[in-house]
């Protein structure tokens, strides 16, 4: 049924399109528009120009020499998405999808956000392109990320608090979907991660794969070889899939996704979907989920709002089951250690999300030892998290 675009709706058994019927037409239309755009040199040229002039790409690949020395292991390379405009990788996807929305002739953009980084990125590109922007955000996340809420408002977006369910990212996605069902004719849902119904996981992956493509080229230029390991944090998993994708066919590159263990995967307060979950269907896609034995979705926790999600992009589920990538988890305290280590050794304050990846990278660096190279996806900067970190360290600001 539907359009023949040559875009596969599935990653092995994962992915698909489990949606209310009202949205079926919009997904087919989007799939077709994306398929045309990805084959259109003019689309790529416009995107590349904005990536250069507006986002500041390519972002640097930075060799963290002091951190490497202190760790006493493999060399640590940071792919600096924290230096992209708005301070995180989210802008890559927001820009690509906003250009698509323009092609679709949809003047209104809705988005969900957890940590607020995707909301800020979306509000930013909407301001730049003159599109109306409505961002759904869990009221618990609004409390944790008040600075980003203010940024979005200054950028002209309407921020709608979501009080249902756990009041976090998952519920913001539900509410954005409800808006989309209602306003589908005028509205594009600019989903923030490589999750959701087909074609979103593929499309978001493609827009984020610029991270891995650049990093691959930069590793060859700066290290003269591919990395031995690539490591990134995984919530929905867009920065990780963007980093991993151009290395998937390089069998010698180990791919490691780091999930949030919160207060521990043996507790009920974590977000380690691939490590501790099992497959199901949520938010339109078949993927690993944190769910109870009745198939009800479990509440999640992480110190980082951006990883606080009970699902994960379906392509990660596929990379896990095919064993092409490994998935591990790092808890709140360990993430704080990663955060402090990078901040003190390199003068780079990471967001709490990639702090999970940094902590694990230090472990792997010691394990595989000197002479090897580890590529770390530094997905965002930590300004937004200073209140959370201060609170966790018992400091009153």
């Amino acid at each position: 049924m539907g359009v023949e675009t040559g875009l596969s709706p599935r990653f092995g058994e994962f992915g698909g399109r489990y949606i209310p019927e009202t949205l079926a037409g919009a997904h087919e239309e989007l799939e077709q528009a994306y398929n045309e755009a990805r084959q259109d040199p003019a689309f790529h040229a416009e995107l590349a120009e904005l990536q250069r002039q507006y986002v500041g790409r390519p972002t640097p690949l930075y060799l963290a020499e002091r951190l490497t020395e202190q760790t006493g292991g493999a060399r640590l390379w940071l792919k600096r998405e924290d230096l992209a405009h708005t301070g995180a990788h989210k802008i890559n996807n927001a820009l690509g999808q906003a250009l698509l929305a323009k092609r679709l002739g949809k003047p209104r953009i809705i988005a969900e956000t957890g940590a607020g980084q995707h909301g800020v990125a979306t509000a930013t590109v909407c301001a730049m392109m003159g599109l109306e922007c409505v961002v759904y955000m869990g009221s618990e996340d609004i409390r944790r990320q008040s600075l980003n809420v203010f940024r979005m408002k200054m950028l002209g977006a309407t921020v709608v608090p979501v009080d249902s369910g756990s009041k976090t990212l998952k519920d913001a996605i539900n509410e954005a979907m409800r808006d989309w069902v209602t306003n589908v004719q005028t509205t594009h849902y600019l989903i923030g991660s490589a999750i959701g119904p087909h074609p979103f996981p593929t499309m978001v992956r493609d827009f984020q794969a610029v991270i891995g493509r650049e990093a691959r080229t930069q590793m060859m230029e700066q290290a003269g070889k591919l990395p031995d390991v690539a490591i990134a944090c995984v919530g929905g998993g867009s920065n990780a899939i963007g980093l991993f994708h151009p290395f998937v066919d390089d069998a010698e590159v180990r791919l490691i996704g780091v999930e949030a263990a919160g207060e521990g995967v043996s507790t009920e307060r974590h977000s380690a979907t691939l490590v501790a979950g099992r497959p199901g269907v949520l938010h339109g896609t078949r993927t690993y989920l944190l769910q109870d034995s009745h198939g009800q979705i479990l509440p999640t926790h992480s110190i980082s709002a951006g990883l606080d999600y009970p699902g994960v992009g379906p392509e990660h589920s596929w990379l896990k089951t095919t064993e092409r990538a490994e998935y591990v988890s790092v808890d709140d305290q360990q993430a704080l250690e990663g955060f402090k280590a990078l901040t003190a050794a390199e003068g780079i304050i990471p967001a709490l999300e990639p702090s999970h990846a940094i902590y694990h990278a230090l472990d792997v660096a010691r394990e595989i030892g000197p002479g090897k190279d580890i590529l770390i996806g530094l997905s965002g900067r930590g300004d937004k998290d200073m209140h959370t970190v201060a609170e966790a360290l018992g400091v009153t600001l």
Partner: protein, 275 residues
């Protein structure tokens, strides 16, 4: 398809009346109310009953039914409980066909074939699964066929003609026509253009059509009857439950269904089906 559904539609076709299809979320307002509410919906004039299976993330539902889902989940009302409620209602004399409505993940967790089999054993007649379009439903459809249960697909005003034809092929009892682009919930008026939408659906199928979303008054039901074979009412039932003491909720549902359906089955539960 289920025998009960076939007979219900055949009778309606003979008498030419609009079937009334009320919905309630299992476990709302309390676990122990559901069987009584189902019986009350029938005695008030409900021809086919929808029992909502609670889910933590009811994406296509508006605030009213979201809240009902939340309350039910808080009480630990899961699929097994929904099936037990149907079985209990049958024991107490419920005659109307029952459709189980919900989301896909709890069904996957139970196992699709197992769920369909147990639903049939409990006395249910079919399924409406909001986030399971026919192209993703091949396993579920096989299970339905194997156990003579009906799969009721949804179609929306945004569904293109070619797609309507494919969806209609997955149906065996009727199609659920979503009246508006939006979530469940009451609205003051039904949207314009319903005739055109249902006309498009009639072109691809001879099956009966039920209209749902936004229907809450007798006038809406009469309006629905002009274009559809059945009218589905959900959020307004929940509202009737909420409009007074918890203990009187079943009687209020009965009275509301009687008023809005226009065909109360007076004394039906005591004397059996009188048609």
């Amino acid at each position: 398809m289920s025998q009960r559904l076939r007979e219900t539609f055949a009778q309606a076709r003979e008498t030419g009346r609009t079937l009334f299809v009320p919905y309630v979320t299992a476990g709302y307002p309390r676990r122990e109310d559901t069987v009584e509410v189902l019986l009350a919906m029938e005695s008030g004039g409900g021809d086919i009953l929808e029992l909502g299976m609670p889910f933590t993330d009811p994406q296509a539902d508006g605030a009213t039914i979201q809240h009902a889902n939340h309350v039910a989940i808080q009480q630990g009302v899961y699929l097994e409980d929904c099936l037990a409620m149907v079985a209990q209602a049958r024991e107490q004399g419920l005659r109307a066909p029952v459709l189980l409505m919900g989301y896909y993940n709890p069904i996957l967790a139970m196992g699709e074939e197992r769920f369909v089999r147990l639903a049939r054993e409990a006395g249910a007649d079919g399924f409406i699964i909001v986030d399971l379009p026919p192209e993703e439903a091949s396993d579920f459809l096989s299970a339905c066929r194997e156990h003579d249960m009906s799969f009721v697909p949804l179609v929306a005003p945004t569904t293109a003609d070619e797609r309507l034809a494919v969806i209609a092929e997955a149906a065996d009892a009727f199609l659920y026509c979503v009246s508006v682009t939006g979530t469940t919930g009451t609205r003051t008026e039904l949207p314009p253009g319903l005739g055109g939408f249902l006309g498009r659906v009639r072109k691809v199928t001879g099956l009966p059509l039920a209209l749902g979303f936004g229907i809450s008054t007798r006038a809406h039901v009469e309006q629905a009857g002009e274009v559809a074979d059945a009218a589905i009412v959900g959020s307004a039932i929940i509202a009737a439950i909420d409009s007074g003491d918890v203990d009187g909720c079943a009687e209020r549902v009965r009275a509301y269904v009687a008023e809005v359906s226009g065909h109360e089955h007076a004394g039906r539960l005591r004397t059996g089906r009188d048609e």
